[in-house]
C-alpha cells in the first residue's frame, strides 16, 4: 500500500492549484461564494463561469478523461479526482457538470458518430452549456414515471409537457431531455434522450426562486416543440438505460470534502481573529469540538472519495455504487453540519447573508440554505440510503408497482 501521489500526479496537482489560485482572483463580486447560485443567479456570475470554461478548455481540462479519439487526454481517474478536489477547494466554476460530467459521457456511450462529431467538440472547448431536463412535477425520485412526450412526426419529434427544478435553464443554450417517445409505455420503457436547443419555438422558461431568493432553477414548458430527428440520442425507446449510465457519472464527492476543508481553514482563521467575552473563539471548547468534527468528516470523506477513484481505476465495479452513494450522502450532510456549526460559532453574526459585516462573506448562512438543495438533488439522500441498504447490504428491496 502507498498513499502517496505519484510524481506525475503531484505535478498535476500543483498545476491545478496554481491555475485556480490565480484565475479565481478574476471572480466578480456577483459570483459571491460560488456554487450553483454563484454561477446561475447573475449574468456576471455566469459570464465568469463561461470565462473559466474557456480557460479550462485551453488547458484541455474539460476533457481530461475523454478518449483521445474525441480530443481528450485519457487522464487517469485519479488525476480527475485530484482535479475535482482542487477545483472544489477553490469553489471554482467553469466545468458545466451537465455538459461535461453527464451529457458528454452519454454521447460517448450512445450517440452516433455524426452526433459525437457535432456535439462533443463544443463541450470540450467550453462553448456549449447545458441544462438537465429530467425532473418533472410528478416525477422526482421516481424519475421513470415522467410524462413529457416526444412523438415522432416525419423528420422531427414533437415535445409536450413540463420539466422542473431545471438548474440554469435560463442561461443554458441546450438541454438534454428525457421524454417519453412511446405514449403508451410505462416507467423505464419507451423513454428517449434528446439534445434540445433552448431557443426552439414553444420552449418556455419560468424562473423559480430558491428559498434565499436566488435564481438557480426553473420550470420549463414545452408546447409543440419540434426537435429535429437527428437530435435523438441513441435508440428510440432505449433512453432509460442510457440515462442510468449517466446517473452513475454523478461523482465521487471529492470536491465536496475539499470544499469543506477550505471553509474549515477560513473558520479557523476567523476563530483565531475573533474575541468574544474576553476569549479567542478558537479557545472556546464548543467551537473547538465542532471544528474538530468537521475536520474528521472531511478527512474520512476524502479517504472514501479516493477509494472510489481507485476502484474505478481498477475496474472494480462491485462496491462502486454503494461507495458513491455513501460519498454523496456523507459529503452533503457534512456540508449541512458545517453550515450549522459555523453559524453557531459565529453567534449573532451567523445570521448575516450578503452583508458587509458577515464573516466569510456570508458563505456559511448561504450554505445553510444551499446545502438543503444538495441533500435533495442528484438522488435524494433517502434514495442513497435505500441503495446502500439494497445494493450494499443486500437487504430486501421494496417492490414498486
Amino acid at each position: 500500500m502507498d498513499f502517496r501521489l505519484t510524481k506525475e500526479e503531484e505535478l498535476k496537482k500543483e498545476a491545478f492549484e496554481a491555475f485556480f489560485e490565480s484565475e479565481m482572483k478574476n471572480a466578480p463580486p456577483a459570483f459571491g461564494n460560488g456554487g450553483l447560485e454563484g454561477v446561475y443567479d447573475t449574468e456576471e456570475g455566469f459570464e465568469f463561469h463561461t470565462y473559466m470554461a474557456g480557460k479550462l478548455a485551453e488547458k484541455g481540462w474539460l476533457s481530461m478523461g475523454w478518449p483521445k479519439l474525441y480530443g481528450g487526454q485519457e487522464a487517469s481517474i485519479m488525476e480527475q479526482v485530484i482535479f475535482d478536489e482542487v477545483r472544489g477547494y477553490y469553489s471554482a466554476p467553469g466545468v458545466d457538470a451537465f455538459a461535461v460530467d453527464m451529457f458528454a459521457p452519454t454521447l460517448m456511450a450512445g450517440a452516433s458518430d455524426e452526433q459525437k462529431a457535432r456535439l462533443l467538440p463544443p463541450i470540450r472547448d467550453g462553448k456549449a452549456f447545458y441544462c438537465q431536463g429530467w425532473s418533472e412535477p410528478d416525477a422526482g425520485s421516481d424519475l421513470a414515471s415522467l410524462t413529457t412526450t416526444a412523438i415522432r412526426e416525419g423528420d422531427h419529434y414533437v415535445v409536450n409537457g413540463q420539466k422542473t427544478w431545471t438548474t440554469g435553464a435560463h442561461r443554458a443554450e441546450y438541454m438534454f431531455l428525457l421524454a417519453r417517445t412511446d405514449p403508451e409505455s410505462r416507467r423505464g420503457k419507451g423513454l428517449s434522450v434528446f439534445h434540445l436547443r433552448m431557443d426552439l419555438p414553444g420552449v418556455q422558461v419560468r424562473p423559480l426562486l430558491y428559498m434565499n431568493g436566488k435564481h438557480v432553477y426553473n420550470e420549463v414548458f414545452f408546447n409543440d416543440v419540434k426537435i429535429p430527428a437527428e437530435d435523438l440520442i441513441g435508440v428510440e425507446g432505449e433512453g432509460w438505460a442510457l440515462t442510468r449510465q449517466t446517473m452513475n457519472f454523478e461523482r465521487s464527492g471529492a470536491g465536496g470534502f475539499s470544499g469543506a476543508k477550505r471553509y474549515l481553514e477560513q473558520m479557523i482563521d476567523y476563530a483565531r481573529n475573533t474575541t468574544r467575552n474576553g476569549q479567542q473563539l478558537s479557545k472556546d471548547p464548543n467551537a473547538r469540538r465542532k471544528m474538530a468534527e468537521v475536520f474528521i468528516g472531511a478527512e474520512v470523506g476524502k479517504s472514501l472519495a479516493y477509494k472510489i477513484a481507485w476502484m474505478h481505476q481498477k475496474g472494480d465495479f462491485a462496491g462502486l455504487i454503494t461507495a458513491a452513494s455513501a460519498s454523496k450522502l456523507f459529503s452533503t450532510e457534512l456540508a449541512q453540519k458545517l453550515a450549522n456549526d459555523a453559524t453557531e460559532i459565529m453567534g449573532l453574526y451567523g445570521q448575516l447573508e450578503d452583508d458587509p459585516d458577515a464573516p466569510l462573506g456570508g458563505a456559511m448562512s448561504d450554505l445553510y440554505q444551499m446545502c438543503k438543495g444538495a441533500t435533495i438533488f442528484a438522488g435524494t439522500n433517502e434514495i442513497q440510503r435505500n441503495l446502500i441498504a439494497w445494493v450494499g447490504l443486500g437487504l430486501p428491496r421494496l417492490k414498486f408497482k
Binding site: 425520485s141 430558491y210 449541512q336 449573532l348
Partner: protein, 371 residues
C-alpha cells in the same frame, strides 16, 4: 392540577389565528419580508384595535393585566404563520423593559401608546463583539449637566428602521444604564442588515447623541438588572413563536407526505419518512408541554432561571431539526422561495440567536446547576 388553557385563552388563540389567516397569508409574509420597511402598518393598527398589545399591561396603564401566558398564545399563533411584525420588539422586549424598569411617568407616557399601536419600539443591546453578557455593553453614555451624550454602535437591533423609540443599553460610570431615545434624534443613524430571517435587524450608530436625563429607564447602573428581569418572559415568548413554527412545519409536512405520490405510494408510506416524522413529533411534544410549564412558573412568580434556559436551548435545536427534516421530506419544492416551508427553515436559524443561543443557555444552565 389543570393542564388546559381556559376558555378565554382558547378564544384568544382562535381570534389571533383567524385574523392572521385572513390578513397575512404566506404570500403577504414574503411581500413584507422583501419590502424595505419589512412591516405592514395597516395590519399593525388592526392588531392594536383587537387589543393584543395591551393584554399583559397593568390596568393602571390602560391594560388588561392578564397573565403572560396569553402573550405566549399570541406569539405561538404568529409563529405558525411566520408573521413578520415588530410585536416582539415593541410589546414584549420594550414593553417588558418599561414595565420592569420604567418610572410611573414613562409607563403612563408609553404603555398606552404601545397598546394603541402608536409607538413602534426597538431594543438596542448587542454590539460589535456580539456578546450576550453584561460586559458586552460598551456604548458610552457620558453625563453632561442634566443630559447624557451617547457614542457607539449597536448591532442586531430588530426593527430600528421602523421604530419611533429605541431603548439603548449604554454604559455610564455607574454601569449599564438604559435610555429611551427618539429614533429621529440627530446623530442616530440606522442601517438595515441582510439577515437569513429577513427580519429587520439593524446597525444603529450613535454619534454624539444628546439624551435628556429623564429619558433614563431605571436608575443609573440598573440597566443590566432590568434586562435580566425582562429576559425570562421574553425568551419564553420567543420560544412560543418558535414552537408555533414547529407545529405548522409538522402539519404542512404531514399533509404533504400524505398527498405526494412517488413510486405509486404516498411518500408518507415509506418507513424512512415515517421515522423522520415520528422524530419530529417527539421533538415537538417534548418542547411544547415544557413551554406550558415554564410560562406557568413565570406567571406564578417562581424562579425559572434553569427552566427558561433549558427551554430555549431545547427549542433552538428542535426548531432547526424539525424544519430541516421538513424541507428534506418536501424534496425540491421545499427549497423554493415560493413554497412556504422555507420561511420556517430560515426562521429557525434566525431565532436561534434571539435572547441567547444554545451555547449561552447551556452555560447559564450549568451555572444555575452549580457547576
Amino acid at each position: 392540577m389543570d393542564l388546559d388553557f381556559n376558555k378565554e385563552q382558547d378564544m384568544l388563540r382562535k381570534s389571533v389565528a383567524e385574523f392572521l389567516a385572513k390578513e397575512c397569508p404566506f404570500d403577504t409574509v414574503r411581500e413584507i419580508e422583501d419590502s424595505a420597511e419589512g412591516f405592514n402598518k395597516k395590519m399593525w393598527k388592526k392588531m392594536a384595535k383587537l387589543g393584543w398589545m395591551e393584554i399583559h399591561f397593568p390596568e393602571a396603564y390602560g391594560g388588561l393585566g392578564d397573565p403572560f401566558v396569553e402573550m405566549t398564545i399570541i406569539m405561538e399563533e404568529m409563529g405558525k404563520k411566520a408573521f413578520p411584525s415588530p410585536f416582539f420588539s415593541t410589546v414584549i422586549l420594550c414593553g417588558l423593559v418599561l414595565l420592569e424598569g420604567g418610572s410611573d411617568k414613562q409607563k403612563k407616557a408609553f404603555l398606552p401608546k404601545i397598546a394603541a399601536g402608536k409607538k413602534i419600539m426597538a431594543l438596542a443591546q448587542y454590539e460589535k463583539e456580539a456578546s450576550y453578557l453584561e460586559a458586552g455593553i460598551q456604548l458610552s453614555a457620558q453625563s453632561e449637566g442634566a443630559d447624557y451624550i451617547l457614542n457607539g454602535k449597536k448591532m442586531f437591533v430588530p426593527n430600528a428602521n421602523i421604530a419611533d423609540e429605541i431603548i439603548v443599553a449604554a454604559r455610564t460610570i455607574q454601569g449599564v444604564t438604559l435610555f429611551l431615545v427618539d429614533a429621529k434624534t440627530p446623530g442616530v443613524s440606522i442601517q438595515k442588515m441582510q439577515t437569513i430571517g429577513k427580519d429587520n435587524n439593524c446597525v444603529v450608530t450613535f454619534d454624539n447623541v444628546n439624551v435628556p436625563g429623564d429619558a433614563m429607564v431605571g436608575e443609573p447602573g440598573a440597566g443590566w438588572h432590568i434586562l435580566e428581569q425582562m429576559a425570562p418572559k421574553a425568551t419564553v415568548a420567543k420560544c412560543a413563536e418558535m414552537l408555533g413554527g414547529c407545529e405548522e412545519s409538522i402539519a404542512m409536512t404531514t399533509a404533504y407526505a400524505k398527498e405526494r405520490v412517488q413510486y405509486s405510494t404516498p411518500i408518507g408510506g415509506f418507513q424512512a419518512i415515517q421515522h423522520y416524522m415520528a422524530d419530529m413529533r417527539v421533538a415537538y411534544d417534548t418542547s411544547i408541554y415544557y413551554l406550558h410549564k415554564v410560562v406557568w412558573m413565570l406567571d406564578e412568580g417562581m424562579d425559572a432561571t434553569k427552566e427558561v434556559s433549558a427551554l430555549k436551548a431545547q427549542v433552538n435545536e428542535q426548531y432547526k431539526f424539525i424544519t430541516e427534516r421538513a424541507v428534506q421530506i418536501h424534496g425540491g419544492i421545499g427549497t423554493t422561495r415560493e413554497f412556504n416551508i422555507g420561511l420556517f427553515y430560515r426562521r429557525a436559524k434566525a431565532f436561534e440567536y434571539i435572547l441567547g443561543d444554545t451555547a449561552y443557555h447551556h452555560d447559564k444552565l450549568a451555572d444555575a446547576l452549580g457547576m
